[in-house]
Point group: C2
Amino acid sequence: MAERRISSIDGKLAEEFAIPSHVEDVKEKMADFAMRHTEAGRRVVLITSGGTKVPLESRTVRFLDNFSSGRRGAASAEYFIESGYAVIFLHRHRSLYPYTRMFLTINMLDALQFKVTDGTAGNPSDVVVDQQMLPNIVKVLKQYQEVKEGGLLLPIEFNTLSEYLHLLKAAAQALHPIGSKAMFYLAAAVSDFYIPASEMPEHKIQSSNGPLQLSLNMVPKILSPLVKDWAPQAFVISFKLETDESILLDRACRALDTYRHQAVVANVLDSRRGQVVVVTPETQVELRLTEEEVQKGVEIEERIVSNLTSAHTKFINPVSLHLPET
Amino acid sequence: MAERRISSIDGKLAEEFAIPSHVEDVKEKMADFAMRHTEAGRRVVLITSGGTKVPLESRTVRFLDNFSSGRRGAASAEYFIESGYAVIFLHRHRSLYPYTRMFLTINMLDALQFKVTDGTAGNPSDVVVDQQMLPNIVKVLKQYQEVKEGGLLLPIEFNTLSEYLHLLKAAAQALHPIGSKAMFYLAAAVSDFYIPASEMPEHKIQSSNGPLQLSLNMVPKILSPLVKDWAPQAFVISFKLETDESILLDRACRALDTYRHQAVVANVLDSRRGQVVVVTPETQVELRLTEEEVQKGVEIEERIVSNLTSAHTKFINPVSLHLPET
């Protein structure tokens, strides 16, 4: 029964969601990345981040989207790297990016100024960053350059739901060989609905035809084959975002029950920056920032990552749980 | 009949699309901006740019969107300023922005490097732009700073369709006093469909309820009251994007016929960067870049703006058409 469901999801993926042409190349890149870092003693986390685009037309003018700036995924990537992980960052094109996210609220040209380097006529001006506008730039640029030199971050982009689904499957297969050393941190906001290619009009829907009726199918629950088939030894974290707090924990528990993965990070839209609950089959741990911490610029992602990396350690070495503390 | 339609659009706007709380402040700012520049002898163009977001839930997780990076609007703003216009840039939050758009294809942190200014211990490093990565930065930064000093660009942001509609109405009313000196360059990709607030669920739609049926109403055609009522003396340009070239010019002519404005810039999705047709009641002028021009970095927006600013001159001074050339 379970196996039938898995193969039917795999079949659906192949039939109804266009396969990106570069998926095999990307899979190889991810597998190499994972193997190299595992051999160097690092664990590897696959972070998904940003919303998915669901086209309404095959030559797409209109699409359905999910609210997500990609802030949580981008911030988490930084904390995972700080914790010693290598990160595959599977993110929506133009969503927030680790380190670079600091530029979000600023027009870069407002933060640049001319500085004449010497008196030589014809010598071009330096363009320098105004460090009053970007007070953290020295620290962040250093971190970014270290991460780049260490090859600790592998960015992979998606745009549509189809690309997301196929690239996630490829990632799961690419990380299979490293077993429990792999973590999946599925923070992307993935659409639950889509229009199958066969039912999609080719051209832009004409408004002169009157009001629009859309009939959307349910997206196959890819977490199911991911956990059971593609990366069965990995440590898998999904996210649950609701706007209605009263149903949140119930949904989170139900997801764990259905997919049998390790944890759900549950959060409510309005309070997601300061408060989440990490739900496992045995525990519900609330992580919450105080007002003071928020004002100091502490980020909830630091707490989430700290909680999950500890849990990942125990997951890899379950026996150490029973050793006496020294 | 026509008047009934106008007032019914106005009524619909007020009833079914939430009014942004800052709309009156923005209107005053736009009116001041327009008056100041008109008195200084400049014409004013209102550019709309980027796609609109149509929420599916009132606490929005999901939304409908329109494909648009905002490239056309942002590039056009620069050429209008070069042509002596002052620009109100009504754009989608985080869509491309004039001048800053040069950073689109680059990770800014890849284009920055440290430069130690002197040997003094503890003296902080300068962070400078690598001009090999951003070869135009000196030129663009100079332009940007001049525009800022001259106060030639007034940026206004929208996110949702509701914000767009109300802010465009406010802009039209704010520009009414300057009459034919105002141009409307409506390049935003505006949704044709929406879900009225009264039919919208409050909370995130649950996927466990099965497939999704969406019923979308048609967005009122705001061009109609804009041309007839809110800014009747202005020079108004709309845009028509199709994926099917065979219906493009017919749609453009039909729009001119319906709304009685001055021109439609018609373009096809796949070729829009190199080719458009400027359609007026009397003429259809094709603007097209050669391969060579594309490679040199010439932009079609330069041609569009040049065509329209000339037409605007004739529109303001129709009598000069009959003067002998000197």
